[in-house]
């Protein structure tokens, strides 16, 4: 029995299962909810199974040639610590989002939601398992399109407006990325990452490819100043969709950027690393300040995402000298941000359901009336602010330690100021949630499932801080970062 479980090619299950389930639930809408919940549960198991295989069978890296055709002809699947991290993050958030969505949508909306959501899940899983830059493009496009569809799901002017901006941004980003892929393919005759890594040199074509791919991915990741599309899109979508977009979609393009950086570009372009660092720092400050200024909860959370993405990019300049703690920090920040931010958007959804508005100043004694939702926001906030004992704290500690170790005072200052600003906007919400608003409103009922889904995700983000040692050894990034050629 156990042997059977360990023999299953979990990586393939991760791609094919949601894809098939998506098609089935498109044809049989009545089965959609049960099928999706089952699929997501199996996805969680499959990720665990893949992790087990990686650790105890394949010794860290898994490579699979589909149909027996290896690269450069066929399509390869590739999994290592970094992929496992992203797959785990996706599975956990997907579980929370699916449970939440099972009661969130009306019947009419649900019919449209489930198939697209499963496609999106398949796209994400495939993206994290892709071994070549063209497959990354295909999955990225599939991801972008299903994400846009989900954003437009609610209909109405705001949702369509947000979805349109998102569509334009995501198409532009993919196009730019594809041009880069074409350049590399033209120059080196392969799209396989490992092969490219061995062949690239600092030629003008490679520089152009780096620029194009980098810009496209930064646009999709919403790194300052290319974040303009994100707040509207994330704020206008329905709560579970916003959670997916903020927690997972932006991370996917970040993952590609990181993967290409580690494997192909980092030996060539140290100056680009410091540029990314500067943009990250500005993103933290700008995003946090904007979040602080917002009067609507969903916009506040969306701008907070802009800021939190900035932290991920601070790892690039720091990793030039000491790779490991910096990438571990980025991994930890990505993981805890995914959990915390999806919880926050769900909280916003609960509050919207509760008071039919998301004006922060009019949150009327939510702490008393929806204690579970309020504590979910508070716990998620602890992680976003980077206060102990949360996952966000561990990430920030590692990043800060690296920065101070290298004498990067500027980055350390940005991190601390960013944390304080985050505290500002989190407690702005909490303060109003404690007090009586001038306008009272009739309270709508919030299903317990929605409250618990948000709470458990937020709790996971906080508990992550206490599990740092096992988590970091499970998602062993040292081999991935080792490709960079600089050992810690």
């Amino acid at each position: 029995m156990l042997a059977l479980l360990t023999d299953i090619p979990w990586a393939i299950v991760l791609i094919l299962l949601p894809l098939t389930a998506g098609m089935v639930s498109f044809v049989f809408p009545r089965l959609a909810k049960g099928l999706s919940l089952g699929t997501v549960l199996i996805t969680v198991l499959a990720v665990a199974g893949l992790g087990w295989q990686l650790h105890y069978i394949y010794g860290g890296t898994y490579q699979h040639a589909i149909g027996g055709w290896g690269a450069p002809l066929g399509i390869d699947l590739h999994a290592d610590g970094l992929s496992l991290l992203m797959l785990t993050l996706t599975a956990l958030v997907a579980l929370g989002v699916s449970v939440y969505s099972s009661v969130y949508f009306t019947r009419e909306q649900a019919i449209r939601f489930w198939p697209v959501w499963l496609f999106l899940l398949a796209a994400l899983n495939a993206l994290f398992l892709a071994a070549d830059i063209f497959n990354l493009y295909v999955t990225l496009e599939l991801l972008g399109l299903s994400a846009v569809t989900l954003t437009a799901l609610l209909g109405g002017k705001a949702a369509l407006d947000g979805a349109m901006r998102y569509l334009l941004a995501t198409l532009l980003g993919s196009l730019s990325y594809l041009l880069g892929v074409a350049l590399l393919y033209h120059s080196y005759g392969s799209v396989d990452i490992a092969i490219l890594a061995a062949r690239v040199e600092a030629t003008p074509a490679v520089w152009a490819a780096l620029g194009l791919m980098g810009a496209g991915l930064m646009l999709k990741t919403a790194l300052f100043p290319l974040h303009f599309w994100l707040p509207r899109a994330h704020a206008s979508a329905s709560a579970p969709v916003s959670a997916v977009l903020s927690a997972l979609a932006v991370k996917a393009s970040f993952y590609i950027l990181l993967r290409l950086w580690l494997a192909i570009f980092s030996p060539l372009a140290e100056s680009a690393a410091s540029l990314l660092g500067v943009l990250g720092a500005v993103a933290i400050l700008w995003g946090s300040l904007q979040a602080l200024r917002q009067t609507r909860l969903k916009l506040l959370i969306a701008y907070s995402t802009v800021a939190q993405i900035g932290y991920l990019f601070l790892a690039f300049p720091l990793a030039v000298a000491t790779a490991m703690p910096a990438w571990n920090a980025a991994a930890y920040l990505a993981l805890s941000h995914a959990l915390a931010k999806s919880a926050m958007f769900m909280v916003a959804g609960n509050l919207l359901r509760f008071g039919s508005h998301d004006r922060i100043a009019d949150l009327d004694r939510v702490v008393q009336r929806l204690p579970l939702t309020a504590s979910a926001f508070a716990l998620a906030g602890v992680s976003i602010m980077g206060l102990p004992p949360s996952g966000g704290f561990i990430g920030k500690w590692l990043l800060l330690e690296t920065a101070l170790g290298q004498g990067r005072w500027d980055l350390a200052a940005v991190m601390l100021i960013g944390g304080l600003l985050a505290a500002g906007y989190v407690f702005k919400v909490l303060g109003h949630a404690f007090t009586e608003a001038s306008v009272t409103h009739v309270a709508g009922a919030v299903p317990r499932t929605m409250e618990w889904a948000a709470f458990l995700l937020a709790l996971a983000a906080v508990l992550l801080g206490l599990l740092a040692a096992p988590v970091l050894s499970w998602f062993d990034l040292s081999e991935v970062a080792g490709m960079q050629g600089v050992s810690p």
């Binding site: 702490v367 204690p371 206060l387 102990p388 004992p389 330690e401 350390a412 404690f434």
Partner: protein, 499 residues
């Protein structure tokens, strides 16, 4: 199996678990909540007693869990930890009884007691931390757990008070984090060690160490209400009386003062700190805060605000004793950690009784109140005399050792500060006592809640009487074994004389 490592964990858990359970209780489960609260408090007190006995008999209580490569969560019970833990455990028990009486019938008690237990958990964690990293963890947890208590009443003023509190404490927390990470990147360890762990660093790091010291002290000074970082404390007085009593007389401000003791003794070590030239400015700042807090206290008419400024002043005695950096002054500073807690909590309990029974909030309304509430005012009087330094109450012992320590360290100016501060203490406490005992009471009080033949509810009366008795007792019986003074001597001996 050796249970010793688990005892510190259980001490922390004995308030954490009841707290988490209480959160999930419905509002009307009063009895179960009370049982949980008291059970936790008694268990904690018993465990702390067990540890005190164990340490006396040479047991070693330490629990380590690796969190990150090279960083561990460490809970360890040494003499200094035990002093603070005992104080917290005792005063938690007393304050729980008080809070049950105080909040009877008011809304959101599950939330209140839940966060209250979390605060105590954080305080005990601060006390038991075996390295600066663990300390930082619990220190920030304390900030977070206190906020809901400050804004508990949910009014606009409460929200403002909470905001001020957060601005100060989170900013302090950021400085502390910066200092800690920096220190870690230099030394590669954060383990609290008697006489410090930084002395091995070469002279080229001297400037860095001075800046780290300033960062750490500034971060901790916010909670310890060191001038000019004290502004949050008077504003946080919007919180209900038990919160002001336990948190702003004991847990929060003491966590800051305790942290400063840790930094000076167990991170830098007195000798290194003195040779870096950072203790003298710290002593000067503490002395200034003592005088400044007292001066501000004189001009407050609101009773709780006067007590708050008195706290600002009194907590700096601890810092002063630490920063004089001599063995006898250390005894005075460390013992004041306990003594000030006992006396100040008594005073806050009494202020709460006046507010709850007669709705008296201002000193100008206190004429003749001792006739209506003799027991409360008797306890208040003991606390106030103790603060002034009248023998044989606890405060006298602290000031005596501080004074002796200053003479021993040849820092004669400290005597002036002590005398001046005692005069100022008298100037702001004696008029209150005079009003309460000797002025004619008004024809009617602002309100008068009737408690039959008693002056107020027993749950409100018992705690201040008990803590006042303790304040008197630790002064009278200071030379008995296990008294705070004896523990303080042990701590000073360990820091200065052990090989």
């Amino acid at each position: 199996m050796n249970w010793d490592p688990w005892i510190p964990v259980l001490v922390v858990a004995s308030s954490l678990l009841p707290g988490l359970l209480i959160f999930s209780l419905a509002e009307e489960r009063v009895r179960l909540r009370t049982v949980l609260n008291l059970l936790g408090a008694f268990i904690k007190f018993g465990l702390v007693g067990l540890m005190a006995w164990g340490i006396y008999n040479g047991h070693h209580y330490e629990m380590r869990v690796a969190l990150l490569p090279g960083l561990e969560l460490v809970l360890r019970a040494g003499p200094l930890s035990l002093l603070f833990v005992t104080l917290s455990a005792l005063l938690w028990l007393v304050t729980t009884i008080y809070a049950i009486g105080y909040l009877e019938g008011s809304p959101h008690r599950s939330r209140f007691f839940g966060f209250f237990s979390l605060c105590v958990t954080a305080t005990v964690g601060v006390a038991l931390s075996g390295n600066l990293f663990t300390f930082l963890l619990f220190y920030e947890l304390l900030t977070l757990a206190t906020y809901p208590l400050v804004v508990h009443r949910g009014t606009q003023i409460a929200r403002q008070g909470g905001r001020t509190y957060l601005i100060y404490t989170l900013f302090g927390g950021a400085l502390l984090l910066l200092g800690t990470v920096w220190l870690y990147s230099l030394t590669g360890t954060l383990e609290f060690t008697p006489r410090g762990f930084v002395s091995g660093l070469g002279a080229e790091h001297e400037t860095a160490l001075i800046i780290i010291f300033i960062l750490l002290i500034a971060g901790l000074g916010v909670k310890a209400a060191l001038f000019p970082l004290h502004g949050w404390l008077p504003q946080a007085m919007v919180a209900p009386a038990p919160v002001s009593a336990l948190l702003h007389a004991v847990a929060v401000v003491k966590a800051g003062a305790f942290g400063i003791i840790r930094v000076v003794y167990d991170v830098f070590g007195v000798e290194t700190a003195a040779s870096l030239g950072v203790t003298a400015p710290l002593a000067a700042l503490a002395a200034f805060t003592i005088i400044y807090g007292s001066l501000r206290a004189i001009f407050q008419d609101d009773l709780k605000r006067r007590l708050a400024f008195s706290t600002v002043s009194q907590v700096s005695y601890i810092i002063l004793g630490t920063a004089i950096a001599g063995p006898i002054a250390t005894i005075g500073g460390v013992v004041h950690l306990v003594h000030q807690g006992l006396m100040k909590i008594t005073l806050f309990f009494c202020a709460g009784n006046l507010a709850e029974t007669l709705e008296i909030h201002k000193i100008s309304e206190m004429n003749g109140v001792a006739r209506r509430m003799p027991w409360t005012m008797a306890a208040f009087t003991i606390g106030a005399f103790g603060m002034i330094g009248v023998p044989p109450i606890a405060g006298f012992i602290s000031k005596w050792y501080l004074g002796l320590g200053a003479l021993e360290a040849e820092q004669h100016w400290v005597i002036l500060v002590l005398v001046g501060s005692s005069l100022l203490n008298a100037a702001y406490f004696l008029p209150i006592l005079y009003r309460a005992w000797f002025r004619e009471p008004p024809s009617s009080w602002p309100a008068d809640h009737d408690f039959g033949r008693k002056e107020t509810a027993w749950a409100l009366l018992l705690p201040p009487v008990v803590t006042a008795a303790f304040a008197l007792g630790v002064g009278l019986l200071a030379s008995l074994p296990f008294s705070p003074l004896e523990w303080a001597k042990l701590i000073a001996e360990r820091e200065f004389y052990r090989p």
